[in-house]
């Protein structure tokens, strides 16, 4: 019996889907499991990439030089009508800081190429535990800086765009927003944090309630330990952006769209993050989906997942100030 089948208070449709979908899935993620899982991620990504191209998405690959002089890959995804006014969607993938690649979960943002004529930039940031703080942060920041610096050549509009990240990517997207604030870097209109991995402490009530959920306390601890390494011992001395959940001052950030499920161990950190934005005088829209576990939106046929996607698209229309085009696929 998979322990994740006993997550309490889960939306019925999600729970039923999970019972079938989780059949045979190993859990939880450990260091030993990482190489195999990364290989699987690439297989899935190759399919996602082919599917996107079949839907008419154009893919361009660029090399970006990072803070430590390394070269990392950044893909630009765009539609046939891309123009200088196309809003930038800067995507940071999830995977617990240790897994995933720039095509993982790309469907979250690919749809906006069709709906909003957006240009998606997805960054191949280097992963922990091989690459520890501040490398993943700096990689993500370097990618954004490079895209914003080249917006005219690339044909897109960074200022009207947004940062988007899911899970670990949500934590890194929040970090990038804080880095840009600190360094006077690119100013984007919005940031969308989906079930973001914001805080290394796992000390909330929701972590207690859902610590054995789809993303567990054990996995969260492993992820943060892998990311921070030795720096984790002096967490309070790190810059604001190292661990966004520990940052009290969340003023002067892009308008935020923040989403989490009520059955996600990240629930309380996420709600608290939105509250701190409001307290700082900023703008945030917070959606807590009742009965949603971590990553619930991948079960995209369920009504709750459809509602979450609808809410995102609705907010984007308000952020971008343009109506969406009807979906073409």
């Amino acid at each position: 019996m998979n322990s994740r089948l006993s997550i309490p208070n889960v939306d019925p449709e999600l729970a039923a889907a999970l019972q079938v979908a989780l059949d045979g899935t190993p859990s939880p993620i450990t260091l030993d499991y990482i190489p195999g899982k990364r290989a699987e991620d690439w297989q899935t990504s190759d399919l996602a990439r082919a599917a996107a191209q079949a839907r008419g998405v154009r893919v361009e690959e660029y090399d970006v030089t990072t803070a430590d002089g390394a070269t990392i890959r950044l893909d630009l995804l765009s539609g046939p009508n891309r123009s200088a006014t196309s809003p930038l969607v800067y995507y940071v993938h999830g995977g617990g800081m240790m897994l995933g690649n720039r095509w993982s979960g790309i469907d979250v943002v690919e749809d906006w190429i069709h709906r909003f004529n957006a240009v998606v930039a997805s960054i191949e940031y280097r992963l922990a535990p091989e690459h520890q703080y501040p490398i993943p942060h700096e990689d993500c920041y370097a990618g954004l800086k490079w895209v914003a610096d080249h917006e005219h050549q690339l044909g897109l509009n960074a200022a009207s765009g947004l940062l988007v990240g899911t899970s670990a990517g949500g934590g890194l997207a929040a970090a990038v927003a804080l880095m840009a604030r600190e360094r006077g870097g690119p100013k984007l209109a919005g940031m969308m944090l989906i079930a973001p991995m914001l805080d290394d402490r796992s000390g909330t009530m929701s972590a207690k309630q859902y610590g054995n959920g789809m993303w567990s306390v054990a996995e969260n601890t492993l992820g943060w330990r892998s990311l921070l390494g030795e720096a984790g011992h002096r967490a309070q001395a790190l810059p604001d952006w190292a661990i966004p959940g520990r940052c009290d001052d969340l003023a002067n950030l892009p308008h935020a769209f923040i989403e989490v499920g009520s059955a996600d161990m990240f629930r309380d950190d996420t709600v608290d993050f939105a509250s701190r934005i409001w307290r700082g005088g900023g703008r945030a829209e917070l959606h807590v989906w009742s009965g949603g576990f971590h990553g619930f939106e991948v079960l995209s046929h369920t009504l709750i997942a459809q509602s979450a996607v609808h809410a995102r698209n609705n907010w984007l229309q308000r952020l971008l100030g343009v109506p969406e085009s009807p979906p073409t696929h």
Binding site: A17, Q19, L299, L303, Q306
Partner: protein
Amino acid sequence: MRELIQRLSALDDDAASAMKIVAHFDALLAQGAGMTALVRGAAVLSGWPCGLHLPQHSIYARVDAQGKSIKVPEDPSAVLDWPHQFLEDGSDGVVWLERPADLPGASDAVILERLAAGVHLTIERVSPPAITDDAAAVEILTSASSPTARRKAAKRLRLSETAMVRLVAFRAADDSVPEQSASLDSEIGPIRVALVEDGQSFALSPAGVGPLVGVLEAFRTRSQAVAALALSSRINPVVSWDQWGALAELAVAGARLTHPDVERVAGLASDPQLLDTLEALAVSDTIRGAAALLGLHHSTVQQRQTRIEAVIGFRIASPAGRTRALVALAAYRVRDSTARTEPADPKLS
């Protein structure tokens, strides 16, 4: 995380897939997921659009293969072109799966069977705004719907579960039928049926009144009420199944037979006055009694009796003759009512 949805939808035509389907619907039911969650489950499992139509509950839903709501067909009967399954409660509820006929779908039957069963159980549980009006409640009470549905319908009509009622059938063409009545198709064509509580009256004719029965069992008396309506006539416009006793059963059975008596009574039908007179004579003790019933002078009735006896070939001025006439007349009425709608195969169930 991404592979979860793929695992859910990756079905082969094998036993493992059937297990997966059954497990998923069981889980949806165990979790208490809603009706449309079942439809979305069917769609994502099969990889084809699926739908649900529950005419009694005014529920009509269709989703694409990704589970998103899409437009329903304007003509509900169009969905019967797809692989489909009716709900087992006799409610005409149907689920369907839009796989093109030329593509294999070994799992379709399992998916549809589980979906239909799941929808049925879910209706019982969620009690959707099911019964939108009194007519729908009557319809449920007069059809072979589930016991729970009938209990809810009785509640809707503010009838206790132990209330004794009679099912009354009317001709559908009549505009003045009671509001708390439902349109039904019957052996004698479209009719309306109402439930009348014991001791209450109604003002409409012709009507066929079924036997007194508990409200939850009223649907079983539908054929009796229909037969009673078939027996109604100009001089006896409100017929009660009880009042005809075994004769009503005989008439129903007799409608399937051809007997010379019935044929000869049919021969009178070209003159409705003669048919009325035969009936009046058959149910009265004397010619004067029949004359009073018809509002005619007894000598006129006397003359008609002679003509009638010439046609039917036996005397009716005796208890045995009257009974023989009544049986033939009853059989003719039932047969005539039935023949108007189903000339090829007259029958009353």
